[in-house]
C-alpha cells in the first residue's frame, strides 16, 4: 500500500491538513505536541488505496524529545514513502531546515505552505519550488507530484542556514513588527509582575464558566431529560441501575463540557505556552518541566487523555512525575464527587467556593506528591529540561475549540456510560445476593470510614472515579447520612487521591511499563491514606491531632526516602 507521510515542524497545521486529506477528526491545536503519537488513516487517492500518516512534529531529524524520536524512527523506516512537508509561512526560515534535511535524505517530497490569515508579506511559490526543486503548493490545493530533489544540501548546520538564506532571498519577504510567536499582548502576559494576577483572574473565570455558566445554560435540557427518564419506569431495577447511571452522567456533563471548553480555549489561544514559560522556574525546582503544564491542565478534563501528552517533555523522570500528578489533580470524574459531598457539607449555595478551595488543595497536593517523588525514586536531571517553541497568541477558533471539547465529552460519555451501567448492575446484584466485603472496612477505620459501602465504592472507583459517586451517594445505600462530617471529608480526600483510574493506569503502563506504574499507584495510595487521615483528625478536632499528623508525616518520609538504591534510579 502507498504511504503519504506528513512530516513537519510542530504546530504548523499538520493535523489540520491530515483532517482535510482524510476527512478525519484528529485533534488540532495551538501547542507544541498536539499530535502526541502517530495517527494513520486509509483513504482512496486517485483510485489507489493509500495510508495517510500524521507524525508528531519535529524541528529536525536530530530528535530532542521522545515524540520527536518517534517521528525520526518512522521516517528512517519508511524511506520509500511519499513525504508531505508542511511549512508555516510565518516561520518559513526555521521550517525550511527540516525541509533541507528531508531533501538531503533523498526522499520523495512535496511541500505544502500553510498561509496564516495574519501573514503580511510576500512569497513567490513558483520561485521557491524552482530553488528547492520540489513541488510547492498551498494548503487548500490538491496534492501534486512527489519527486526527489536534486538540490545539493550541505551537511553542516551553518551550510544549511546559509542555503536557506539564499533560497529565501528574492522570493520571501515578511513585514511584521514582532517576531513569530510574540505579539503586543505578550508584554503584559509575560511581565513578571502582571503574569500571576492575570493567571489567577483566568483561573477564576475558568471555574465560573465551568461551575456557573455551563450548568446554567444546560440546566433546562438536563432537568427535562432527567424528568423524562425518571418517568419511564418505576421498577426498582430501572430506578437503581438504568436511571442512576444516566442521572450520574447527564447531571455532570455540563461541568465536564465547561472545563474542556475552557482548557481548549486557553490551548488554542496560545496562552498555555506563556503559562509554561512562567511556571517553568518553579516546576523545574520540584522536578517537573514547564511543558508539564499542558497535560496538567488537560487532566482537569480527563487524566487518561492527558497522559498521552507527557511525551513532549524531554526528561523521562519529569514525564513520570507529570503522569503521576495527573491523577491527583482535579478531573471531570472527580468533579461530581466533590460537588455532591460539598453540597452535603456546606449546602449548594456555598458549594462553589468550597469546590474552588478543594481544587486548589488538590493542585497543591499534586505538586507536593511530585516533590516527594522527586526526592525519592524519580529524581530529575534538571539540566535537561525545557526548550519550548512559542506558538502565536491568537483569538481562539471557536469551531476548533467546540469540536475538541465535544470530542472530549463524547469520549468521556463513550468511556463512562457502559462502565457505570455494568458497575451499577454488579452493585445491584451484590445487594440482592448479599455479598459482604465488609472485612476490608477495618483498613479504613483509622481514617474514619469503616463502612462496607465506602469500600465497595473505592473498589469500583479504581475502574472509574465516577463510580464512587453512583455507588456511595446515589440510591438506597447512600453514605450521606451514615458518615460524620469529618469522616465524609476524609472519604472525599481519600477518594480524590487514592489511585489513578483504570484508564490512566493503562496509559501510564503503556508508556512507562509495569514497574513505574506500580510505584506510582502504591505511593499514591499511601499518600491518599495519610492526607485522608490528617483531614479526619483535623476536622474531627481530636486531641491527638498533632501527634498523629507528625506520625503520619513520618510514615510518608519513610516511604518516600531521600536516598534510594541507585539500581532503581529512573
Amino acid at each position: 500500500m502507498e504511504k503519504i507521510i506528513l512530516c513537519a515542524n510542530a504546530n504548523v497545521g499538520k493535523s489540520t491538513y491530515f483532517n482535510r486529506l482524510t476527512k478525519g477528526n484528529a485533534r488540532v491545536g495551538n501547542w507544541l505536541g498536539t499530535t502526541a503519537k502517530v495517527e494513520t488513516k486509509k483513504i482512496t487517492l486517485q483510485g489507489k488505496e493509500t495510508l495517510v500518516v500524521d507524525l508528531p512534529g519535529t524541528h529536525s531529524l536530530f530528535p530532542y524529545a521522545q515524540d520527536e524520536q518517534v517521528t525520526v524512527d518512522y521516517v528512517n523506516k519508511n524511506l520509500d514513502g511519499k513525504f508531505v512537508n508542511i511549512v508555516d509561512i510565518n516561520n518559513l526560515r526555521r521550517n525550511l531546515f527540516l525541509t533541507l534535511e528531508l531533501i538531503e535524505k533523498g526522499l520523495k517530497l512535496q511541500i505544502i505552505v500553510n498561509f496564516g490569515k495574519k501573514f503580511k508579506g510576500h512569497l513567490d511559490v513558483a520561485g521557491l519550488s524552482n530553488k528547492l526543486d520540489v513541488e510547492v503548493s498551498y494548503m487548500g490545493q490538491q496534492l501534486k507530484e512527489f519527486k526527489k530533489s536534486k538540490l545539493n544540501v550541505p551537511p553542516s548546520a551553518e551550510g544549511k542556514h546559509k542555503l536557506i538564506d539564499s533560497i529565501l532571498a528574492g522570493c520571501y519577504t515578511k513585514k511584521s513588527k514582532y517576531p513569530y510567536g510574540l505579539s503586543k499582548w505578550d508584554r503584559v502576559l509575560l511581565n513578571k509582575y502582571a503574569a500571576l494576577p492575570i493567571f489567577l483572574i483566568v483561573a477564576v473565570i475558568v471555574f465560573a464558566i465551568t461551575f456557573v455558566v455551563f450548568p446554567f445554560i444546560f440546566s433546562l435540557p438536563t432537568n427535562f431529560i432527567l424528568k423524562w427518564l425518571s418517568a419511564v419506569s418505576s421498577s426498582y431495577f430501572y430506578q437503581e441501575v438504568i436511571f442512576s447511571t444516566f442521572k450520574a452522567v447527564v447531571q455532570f456533563l455540563p461541568q465536564i463540557l465547561g472545563m474542556l471548553f475552557c482548557v481548549y480555549v486557553l490551548e488554542n489561544s496560545g496562552y498555555i505556552s506563556r503559562l509554561a514559560f512562567l511556571v517553568d522556574d518553579f516546576f523545574v525546582k520540584i522536578g517537573l518541566s514547564g511543558k508539564s503544564v499542558f497535560p496538567m491542565l488537560l487532566s482537569f478534563g480527563c487524566a487518561s487523555m492527558a497522559v498521552d501528552f507527557v511525551g513532549t517533555i524531554k526528561d523521562k523522570s519529569a514525564q513520570i512525575k507529570t503522569a503521576a500528578s495527573l491523577s491527583i489533580l482535579p478531573c471531570s470524574a472527580k468533579l461530581p464527587i466533590v460537588l455532591v459531598v460539598l453540597s452535603l457539607l456546606v449546602g449548594r449555595e456555598k458549594a462553589f467556593f468550597a469546590i474552588v478551595a478543594v481544587f486548589f488543595v488538590l493542585i497543591v497536593l499534586s505538586l507536593v506528591f511530585v516533590a516527594f517523588l522527586d526526592k525519592g525514586v524519580f529524581k530529575s536531571k534538571r539540566e535537561e529540561q525545557s526548550v519550548l517553541e512559542f506558538p502565536q497568541l491568537r483569538i481562539p477558533r471557536l469551531g476548533v475549540v467546540c469540536k475538541n471539547a465535544s470530542n472530549g465529552a463524547s469520549e468521556f460519555l463513550y468511556r463512562i456510560v457502559g462502565i457505570v451501567l455494568v458497575a451499577n448492575m454488579v452493585l445491584y446484584l451484590m445487594q440482592r445476593i448479599n455479598i459482604n466485603i465488609g472485612f476490608l472496612a477495618p483498613v479504613f477505620a483509622p481514617i474514619g470510614f469503616n463502612v462496607q459501602v465506602a469500600v465497595v465504592a473505592l473498589l469500583f472507583g479504581i475502574i472509574a472515579k465516577e463510580l464512587i459517586l453512583t455507588t456511595a451517594f446515589v440510591g438506597a445505600t447512600s453514605l450521606a447520612g451514615v458518615l460524620s462530617p469529618p469522616a465524609l471529608i476524609a472519604f472525599l480526600m481519600f477518594s480524590l487521591l487514592y489511585t489513578p483510574c483504570a484508564h490512566t493506569i493503562f496509559g501510564i503502563n503503556e508508556r512507562f511499563g509495569a514497574k513505574v506504574t506500580t510505584q506510582i499507584v502504591w505511593r499514591q495510595f499511601i499518600f491518599a491514606y495519610v492526607i485522608a487521615g490528617i483531614s479526619f483528625l483535623v476536622f474531627g478536632g481530636r486531641s491527638i491531632v498533632f501527634v498523629a499528623m507528625l506520625f503520619m508525616i513520618g510514615i510518608l518520609a519513610v516511604l518516600m526516602p531521600k536516598k534510594r538504591c541507585p539500581r532503581k534510579r529512573c
Partner: protein
Amino acid sequence: MRVGDVLVVNRVKEDCDKYLYLLSCGFVKGAHVTIHAISPLASAMLVQINGSVVCLKKSVLEKIEWIKT
C-alpha cells in the same frame, strides 16, 4: 542578560547536550539573538532567532559563546 539585549552568536560549545537542536534553530556563527522575556526566577528566557521565538534555559544559553553588540 536583560530584556532587549541583542547578542551575536560566535559558536555553540560542543559539550552542550542541545548542540544539534541549537544549530537547527539557527544558533550558528553570526546569528543575531534578541532577548524578549525573562521568567520570574530568571532561569528561562524567550529569545528571537531566525524570525521566531524559542524559550531556552539560562544554562543552555550559557553554552553559547557570544559576541555581544
